[in-house]
Structures are given as C-alpha cells and as structure tokens.
C-alpha cells in the first residue's frame, strides 16, 4: 500500500460521507422494493392475494393516526438500537449485543426508578436516563475492553452477554431481588415512580388512546447526537479512524484500544437508552423477557440504514411499519404475520447480495489492473 492511499484511508472523509449519503438511499430503497416483490411471490404461492396483503400491511401501519403512533412506538427502540449497532460498525466492531445492552439499560432504569420512586420528575427523569445510558454503555464497554486487552472477538462476547443477561433477568425478576410481590402473577419489577415515567405527548383529544410517549424526542435527539459525536467531536474522529484501520490510526497517534472501549461504550449507551425508553415510556416496570428481539432487529436496521443516522431512523420506521402492519394484516387479511419476517429477511438478503456483488466486482477490477 502506498503512503498516499493510506493517508486517504486514515483521514475520515466527512464530505465524501455526505455525498455518499445523498447517493446512498438508492440501494436500500431498491433492496426493499426487490424484497417486497419477492415477498409478493411468497404470498401468491401460499394462495393469497399479494395486493390485499400489502394493502392491509400499509393500512395497519399508517391507516389511522392511532396506527401511525403505534408504528412510531416500535420505531423508537429500533432507531436507538440501530444507532448502537451502527456506531460500533463505524468503530470497526460488530455489536451483536445491542439486545443485552438494551436489557441492562432497562434493568438499571427499573432499579433506579423503583428505588428513588419518590423523587420529583425533574430530578428522577435525568437520573433514569443517565443510568440507562451508563449501564448499557458499561455493559457494552466490557466487550470492547475484552477485545482491546485480551483480543477476544467482540462478536463472541456480545453474543454471550446476550445470554448472560437473559438469565440475570430470570434471577432478578422471578422471585428475586427485583421482583414485585404484586405484579399480576408474572415475573416483573415493581412500578417505577411517576417522576420516571415518560409522558404521552399526543393529546387524547387529538388521537384517542394513543400511547406515543416522549421517548420519540429522546430518539430524535439521539439521532442528532450520533451525528454530532461521530462527525463533530475528537472522539468521533478517533472512533472513525479506528474503524477505518486500527494500525493506521495507531500510526496517527490514536490509541485503537481506547477507541474500541469507547466505541462500545457509546454504542452500548444508545442501546441502554432504548431499554430505558421501553421501561419509562411503555411499561413503567421491567418484565422478565420483555422487548425480545429489538436488539437483533436493530442489526438489520443499521445495515439497511447504511450506518447513517437519518438512514437508521428511516429504516427503523420501515421495520416499525412492518411489525405494526404485520399484526393488522394477520387480523384483517388473515395472512400470517410471519410474512413480515420473510420480507425483512429478504431485505437483508438483497443488501448482503449487493455487498457481495460489489466486493466481487472490486476484486475482479483489481485482478484486471494487476494483469
């Protein structure tokens, strides 16, 4: 590698990224379109009408103002989880642990929300937000630290952390130290204090029964924070440099080990915030085994969103619409909501295929140049 190209790789190119964002949406949009067409074939093969299926899907997700708010409620944790995965990606790490970081954030929120239930909102709310973020961040940083100091692959550790937390939750909530004596006979914590509850932000006169909570503002702020941290802070510069090439970054005086730990900390912080939002905004208590799968869907969201904050928000909205619309499709058009899982998988498949094709083309080009 010549020194010229190496310098081009270590300097994270902000402007080129901006251009890439502009050109970026074409490929994910095409992937979704192809996936929808392939999904339609599945519906057809299963003996149903694809037009009716997609109409029901869209109506379920956006048909009424209430449906829109339900779609948004699902998009909130997906956005935050997607930011978590993407931030790790940008640091060159594969964070499979967004799910466990989310749960750690939720547990911490539940613990603080119950323990200090009597504090007034202006004190308790920032407290639970910070604990949620810090707990998720610390849990993520553990994987980063193991990689930096012991060279343990973060994919392995984050997967193992996912399992660990599931069992910690069983222990805490099934007749354990956090379980409430009176929680509907289900394993759950006590209710958090009123000051820790994210309020519903849409007036009931406008959209009756809506549950859309202030977590959407936190998610919007997080989208901005993601961009700000990554592209407007020294830390973000370091993280991106480590992500583009740890050895080159070290040459430039950036400690890649520090980058790994901090990258996983910030990534875990986003996922921890997702857990906090689910506890404060949706349930007001911690249930054993709740929010199953958001942290895994977040990986798909980050891929589809091409690791850009706006892209992630849009991808989360799409996956939120799939999830919400899928249930309505099942109840109104009698088509299994598992179709949605098929379409989501197809989206990923198409994106992965696109990446693979591009890589093949690149190698082919390199071979030609060599010859």
């Amino acid at each position: 590698m010549t020194s010229g190209t190496s310098a081009g790789r270590t300097a994270p190119p902000t402007r080129r990224d901006a251009l890439a964002w502009a050109a970026g949406p074409a490929i994910p949009a095409a992937s979704v379109l192809i996936a929808l067409v392939l999904g339609a074939a599945f519906v057809l093969v299963s003996g149903n009408d694809p037009v009716a299926a997609y109409a029901a899907l869209a109506r379920g997700a956006f048909g009424t103002p209430y449906d829109v708010t339900e779609t948004l409620i699902i998009a909130i944790p997906l956005t935050l989880g997607g930011l978590s995965v993407a931030l790790a990606f940008r640091t060159g790490l594969f964070n499979i642990g967004a799910q466990s970081q989310l749960l750690v954030g939720a547990i911490a929120t539940g613990f603080v929300g119950v323990r200090f239930a009597d504090l007034p909102g202006p004190l308790l709310m920032p407290l639970v937000i910070l604990t949620g973020i810090l707990a998720g961040g610390a849990w993520g940083a553990l994987a980063g630290w193991l990689k930096a100091t012991r060279g343990v692959n973060e994919v392995i550790t984050t997967i193992m952390q996912n399992y660990t937390i599931v069992f910690v939750m069983h222990w805490l909530l099934q007749n354990g130290p956090m379980s409430a004596p009176n929680a509907f006979g289900t394993p759950a914590s006590a209710r958090i204090g009123d000051g820790a509850v994210l309020p519903v932000i849409v007036p009931a006169e406008l959209i009756p029964l809506t549950r859309l909570h202030a977590g959407i503002l936190l998610a919007a702020l997080a989208v901005v924070a993601f961009w700000f941290i990554l592209f407007r802070t020294t830390l973000g510069y370091e993280l991106r440099a480590v992500g583009l090439g740890p050895r080159a970054a070290a040459q430039a005086g950036i400690d890649p080990k520090r980058g790994m730990v901090l990258g996983m900390f910030v990534a875990g912080g986003f996922a921890g915030l997702a857990g906090m939002v689910q506890v404060s905004g949706v349930f007001q208590r911690v249930y054993d085994g709740f929010s199953a799968g958001y942290g895994f869907d977040a990986i798909a969201v980050a891929l589809l969103g091409k690791n850009s904050p706006i892209g992630i928000a849009l991808a989360a909205l799409l996956f939120g619409a799939f999830a919400r619309g899928g249930t309505i499709m099942q109840s109104n058009a009698h088509i299994s909501s598992n179709l949605v899982a098929v379409i989501e998988a197809l989206v990923l498949f198409v994106i992965a295929a696109e990446t693979a094709l591009r890589e093949l083309a690149r190698r082919h080009g390199a071979l030609k140049r060599a010859a």
Binding site: Y66, I73, G121, P122, L123, L124, M125, P126, I129, L130, I133, H170, Q174, N175, N182, A183, F184, G185, P187, R191, D194, G195, A196, V197, L198, P199, A204, E205, P208, L209, A214, L217, L218, L221, A222, A225, F228, R232, T233, L235, G269, L273, Q278, V282, F283, Q284, Y287, G289, F290, S291, A292, Y294, A323, R324, T327, I328, Q330, S331, H334, S337
Partner: protein
Amino acid sequence: MKRLLASFVLIATVAAACGGGAGTPSAAPAAAASATARPATAAPTATPKPVRIGLVTDVGGLNDKSFNTLANQGRLDAEKDLGVQTSVVESKKQEDYVPNLTTFAQQGYDLVISVGFLMTNATWKVAKQFPNIKFGIIDGAPANDKGDTENLPNVANLFFAEQEAGYLVGVIAATMAKDKVGAATHNTVCSMGGIPIPPVDKFIAGYQDAVKTVSPTTVILNGYSNDFVDQQKGKEVGLNHIGKGCDILFQVAGGSGLGYITAAKEKGVYAIGVDADQADVAPATVITSALKRVNKAVYDTIKAVKDGKFVAGSQTFNATNDGVGYGKLATVVPANAKAAADQALADIKSGKIKPKTEIQVK
C-alpha cells in the same frame, strides 16, 4: 469526551423538561375512550350484524401446540358452529398486547379474548377504555397498574382447575412407577414447569399430591426451564432429570416443554403432555396428557356472547364441567392405572378428593 458527556446531559435535560407532567397521563385517554368505543352490541334494531370475535395470543404464538393453539381451536370451532366472524392476531412481544387488544376494540368487535395471564394488565387497560366491548381473559383477571386484581363489568375471567388435571395424570404416573411398568423402573417421577406462576404450579401441585397419595415411596423431582418457548432449555432439564433416575416426565412449559418430551423420547422413558392432547408429539413416549380445555373456555364464552348470556367476573373450568381431564392413553398404560384415574376423576367430581394447589416438592 467532554462533548460526548455534554450531549448526554443535553438529552437528559430535555427529557427532564418533558418529564414534568408525568403524573397524570392516563386520565385524559380514559375520558376520550367512551367517545371512540363504538357501541357494537347496543344496536339491536339495525340489520342483524354478524357477531365479531377477536383473539389475541400471547408471545407463545399460534403453533405452541398447547395453550394458544387450543384457544385458536376454540375460535375456529365457534366460527364453524355458531356463524360468528372471527380474527386472530399473534403477539410477537410483550409490547404488542395493548395495541393488539386496542385494535380489535377500536374496530368494534363484540368480544376480544386475551390468551394468558401475561395479559392481565393489558386487558385491564384496554377493557377499561372500552366499556361497551366484552373481553375474556384466559387464566387471569384484570389487574390494574399496581398489580391488584380489579374485576371489570365487561371482562370474564376464565380460570381452570389445573390441579385436577395434574392429579389425574399423577395417579397414572404413580401407579406405573409403583408397579414398575415398562421403562418406569426407578420409582421416580418428575415434572418441569416453565416459570413458577400459579397456572403452572397448580398442575404440578396436583400431580405431586396424587403421587404422594397413591404411592408414598415414589421419589418426586421438580424443575423449571425458565422459558415457555425455547425447547433446548426444556431438553436440558429433561436430560438432567433422567440422569437422576426419572422415568416419567410431566411437562408444564408450553413450547419449552416439547424439549422435555424430546429428552424422554431420546432416552426411552415416558412423558406426560399438558394443555392439549400431546400424544402425537411422540406417540410411544407420551403416555397421556393433562388436558386443560382452553378451547372449551373460548368456545363457551363466544357462545355466551352470541346468545346474549355473557357473564363478567371469574368462572372456573374444572373436571365437573369437563374443563379439565386426561388425554389419550398410550398402550403401555396398564388397565389398573386407567381404572385408578377414572376413580380419581369421579372422586374429584363428587368432591371426595380436593387436589392440593400448593407445590410440595419444589
């Protein structure tokens, strides 16, 4: 790093500002609800509209071969026999319960059925907002945000006497263990629950009560998979139990319990199914099943709504009204075990036997 902290603090501050009014978010929607709940049943003069029934499964999903499958069976039977229109929706996450119930209610369904104790709070929330729509909840009663049961005039709480079904299969297991029938050579019987919650533990309590009564010398073990979905966890508990000498394994763990049965099948010992008749899961392995006829509860409640005889509050499905029982017997089950189970069934019906509801061997 400072900027990073600064942006987190910024998030926290803004959120604190929105957190100020968190005290009373629930009052307003409740007031608005009566306006939105369409009075679907209160229009008898209009052209006869088909009765519409919505069923919401818990996270176990429609193919759990137990609880949710049975509830759905009841729905399909009712659709066929009673000419009602029905819909089902599967909950993928705990987050889905409230919106799924709300969606049916908003569309003016006549009856919305929640399958499972996991939905006690969600049912309370939604049923309170839609006083003109009837709700049924399997295995639970509406529970308010504090976790206290709060019966509502539009909710039927559908409970089961699980201990009676557990007792019946316990009699069969104990008889076979005592007489060392077939592969049951160690005089040891076991059970595995999903999570230690009342509807699970009552099955096991009845089972243990029967074993202690019929065959006091038989060793009893119990465990939990801590899961209702993951078969692998159930299988691990099963292999562990078999290693300790168990040769009759009773599962009360939904999908996770299928793994418990798999363990029995692989090691050539016997298993007992739960909720549905699970003889088909592993024909020679499953000697019988503790039946909990969720389908009957669903069917009967739908029928009651159609006939205008819906009753709110708690009702129990037990051996007397055919709500619980034991399933198909494998050929290895001897005649004296069947006779003992039938005698126990008669004694439960007559009130001579009252199976315990508290677990003795944890």
